[in-house]
């Protein structure tokens, strides 16, 4: 059978062997956490606790502000030590709530209906909003917004994103294997909210165990979901690419998946939806892959939001002496970290520690080989965009649809001249906005 996929893209080495056979381990509750108010796309959450307040696990500590925003909860039971600026994994200093543990977990749960099947759509969305759920694939878009498309945008299909196309990361893979039923129920809840009948599960063919496991449980539990094995290729996990691969629909330029009647959610996200709707648990923990050749025991860890990288790394046996690069997320789009005192946030899908030998990269002139054009999943001309941006010709960039760039990094990955294409395009995107 020919597997479906999208056009162009690249085939980076996967590096998943570090952690794809490691069972998810639950980490002990950390002594202290730093919970950023900004863990999502949209407006900063408004803190509603003060210094020295006692908080419980799952208690709301910051509320949504505006339509596109998300609630933030205390991940541990303890005392608020400070509300101040600390180092944020995105590379800036940002406002965070610092909480010190006083006793072991005392949960404050969200009111939930006895059976989610009897609840109305609005009740379920309200629970998701209260639980502070955001897209856990990395973009962290508030889920309640995604699940309430405006009138006039009918949704007919839901896609569960189990692609995990970034090298190294295995969190979603492990969740599909170990939390299969919960993930599937979460998907059913999401589809009930959206009122759609067509459910698809996209998994790349480098995870055959997850494909067969999900297929088996879908049959056992009598769900009507279609499991779609996909041909391994990066960046298949990008929403637009995934919709194209499964449904052959192309999201228009500047549009959203709902413009073609689709909503895509990540495995981690539907798992959190399941926990919120059936157990009343807010989003205070997630699965993180701590991996790479720079850490002693690569692991998949279920950890509380706000746990510092330092503790996560210690839980994974600590860093090797030669480790000189740590980044949050996968290697294609991840953010370099200057310190390990930063906390993990809702969007932290993984922490990769690596030992890099060649630090200096030689940049050569563009030899017009056209590789970047052939790998760009959006069909842009990266070399042209980068050149125009380098020459500060920002007015011309709009003509070449620079804003469509998803910054997947495929062009720079394959560039024989090592031209910082993505970096120049990022500059161009900002300047021509």
């Amino acid at each position: 059978m020919k597997l479906s996929t999208f056009k162009n893209g690249i085939h980076p080495k996967s590096f998943k062997h570090f952690s794809n056979r490691k069972k998810i381990e639950e980490m002990q509750v950390p002594e202290e956490v730093f919970v950023p108010l900004q863990q999502h796309i949209g407006k900063l959450a408004k803190p509603i606790v003060k210094k020295k307040d006692e908080v419980k696990t799952g208690q709301i500590i910051a509320e949504t502000d505006g339509f596109i925003s998300s609630t933030v909860h205390s991940p541990i039971t303890g005392k608020v030590k400070a509300i101040d600026e600390f180092d944020h994994p995105s590379g800036v200093r940002a406002k965070m709530i610092h909480i010190k543990k006083t006793v072991d977990d005392e949960w404050e749960l969200i009111d939930i209906p006895k059976n989610w099947k009897d609840a109305t759509k609005n009740e379920l969305i309200e629970i998701i909003k209260k639980a502070g759920i955001v897209g856990l694939g990395g973009a962290a878009f508030p889920t309640q917004v995604k699940l309430s498309p405006p009138k006039g945008k009918p949704i007919d299909s839901f896609i569960l994103n189990g692609v995990e196309c970034e090298p190294f990361l295995t969190a979603d893979h492990r969740m599909m294997l170990e939390y299969t039923d919960k993930v599937l129920t979460g998907m059913a809840i999401t589809m009930k909210i959206l009122g759609v009948k067509n459910g698809y599960i996209g998994i790349e063919d480098n995870k055959p165990d997850a494909i067969s496991q999900i297929q088996k449980r879908v049959m056992d539990l009598n769900y009507d979901f279609k499991v779609i094995p996909l041909k391994l290729k990066y960046p298949q996990g990008a929403e637009k690419m995934l919709i194209d691969a499964i449904l052959k629909r192309k999201v228009p330029i500047g549009g959203l998946p709902m413009d073609v009647g689709v909503v895509v959610n990540n495995v981690g996200t539907v798992f959190s939806i399941y926990e919120a709707v059936t157990e009343g648990k807010a989003l205070v923990e997630r699965v993180v892959t701590v991996t790479g050749d720079g850490v002693k025991e690569p692991k998949n860890i279920l950890a509380r939001i706000g746990t510092t990288f330092k503790e996560l790394l210690e839980f994974s046996g600590g860093l090797k002496d030669e480790t000189n690069h740590i980044y949050m997320g996968g290697p294609m789009m991840g953010v370099s970290q200057h310190s390990i005192s930063v906390p993990m946030i809702k969007a932290t899908s993984g922490i990769v520690c690596s030992i890099e030998k060649s630090v200096n990269v030689k940049v050569s002139p563009c030899i017009r080989c056209g590789t970047c054009v052939r790998v760009c999943p959006i069909n842009l001309i990266p070399t042209k965009l980068s050149r125009l941006s380098e020459l500060s010709k920002y007015d011309e960039l709009g003509k070449y649809e620079i804003q469509s760039c998803i910054e997947c990094g495929s062009c720079l990955y394959s560039c024989p001249s090592n031209i910082p294409l993505v970096q120049w395009i990022r500059v161009g995107k900002l300047k021509s906005h």
């Binding site: 290697p331 370099s336 890099e356 050569s364 394959s414």
Partner: protein, 340 residues
């Protein structure tokens, strides 16, 4: 403010910049922008690959045409490298031999020359190829025309007789016997050469073009390794085959059969190693098809309707000139673009 003035007044002490990193409990962290993974595809690798792919036909050329051919190759490469070196010295740029592009230009130029071409001519051609063909445009990546072919075109104009004097390979007759190339034989005397010698190479021709088979081996290697775009040789040779075939079907007595077209002359060498030069071919996939088809049309026009027996060089140079236009009009449709 206070701190700022303090630091500006105090003379900074010279410190070992690594002292901070040597402190215990502190890991020297790299900070960089994603992607953190790179493929091993690089200019050096491409150039090494293409040079390797040219090795069989180069060796065969030396076997066929003797040590003089080796001397020509050596002189060609050295003068190309020296030209680039001197140009960079004069213009105050840093010289990098490592990318190997001028070595490739020198080799390609000599491979397209007749086996008994005078050495001063080789030097002149190399200087023109690198200086006019590449450096005055701004160096690697900025030239419009294939440098080796530009050098050859210059020699064609300045050494018209020497450029068409062909020594036959050693194994065909005695040493230093001159003859004509199969294309020339056909054009001017209407003598067909059989396909077998065309494939094996014991015919008259330039140093590197005589055996289609050996070139094909190197050509397929660079296509598999993605050092060249497969669309260009395919569309170029395909167009020549189809157009040549059409002429042949119309009048088999006057025109040669299409197999003769693709195996004779410099088409194989040109299609795999010259037309695919990354710098001077289109960057879009649709553009590559147009480039190959266009070159094929020009080639057949010159061979069958023009005055020259061979047209590979001019067909590629002509299409090189059109590349900026082709790139502009073959921009791929952006993902999600709605046709207006």
């Amino acid at each position: 403010m206070e701190e700022k003035s303090k630091t500006t007044n105090v003379k900074p002490k010279k410190k070992d910049p690594r002292a901070k990193l040597k402190k215990p409990n502190r890991i020297p962290m790299l900070l960089k922008s994603s992607p953190h993974l790179r493929s091993d595809y690089s200019i050096e690798k491409i150039m090494r690959g293409v040079l390797l792919a040219l090795l069989p036909t180069t060796v065969l050329g030396v076997i066929f045409f003797g040590w003089y051919a080796l001397l020509m190759i050596f002189v060609g490469i050295v003068s190309c490298v020296l030209t680039e070196l001197i140009f960079n010295l004069v213009s105050g740029k840093k010289f990098k031999l490592t990318d190997g592009t001028s070595v490739l230009t020198g080799l390609l130029l000599v491979l397209t020359l007749p086996p008994s071409f005078p050495i001063p001519g080789v030097i002149l051609g190399s200087v023109v190829a690198i200086f006019v063909g590449k450096m005055i445009f701004g160096g690697l990546g900025y030239n419009i025309f294939n440098p080796a072919l530009l050098g050859r075109a210059f020699l064609q104009a300045s050494y018209p007789v020497k450029m068409t004097t062909w020594t036959l390979p050693k194994y065909v007759g005695a040493d230093a016997i001159t003859g004509a190339t199969p294309l020339g034989l056909f054009k001017f005397e209407h003598i067909m050469t059989n396909i077998k010698p065309l494939i094996l190479g014991n015919i008259g021709g330039t140093i590197g073009e005589t055996s289609a088979l050996v070139i094909l081996i190197g050509g397929i290697f660079i296509l598999i390794k993605k050092y060249a775009d497969w669309r260009i040789p395919l569309s170029y040779i395909g167009t020549v085959f189809i157009l040549g075939g059409l002429f042949w079907l119309i009048n088999p007595a006057q025109y040669p059969n299409p197999f003769f077209h693709i195996f004779a002359g410099g088409l194989m060498l040109g299609a795999f190693f010259m037309a695919t030069d990354m710098v001077t071919s289109p960057i879009t996939t649709k553009g590559s098809w147009i480039f190959g088809i266009g070159a094929g049309i020009v080639l057949i026009t010159i061979r069958l309707l023009g005055g020259l027996p061979e047209g590979v060089m001019y067909s590629i140079i002509f299409m090189n000139g059109l590349v900026p236009l082709i790139n502009r009009y073959t921009r791929p449709k952006v993902f999600g673009e709605v046709k207006k």
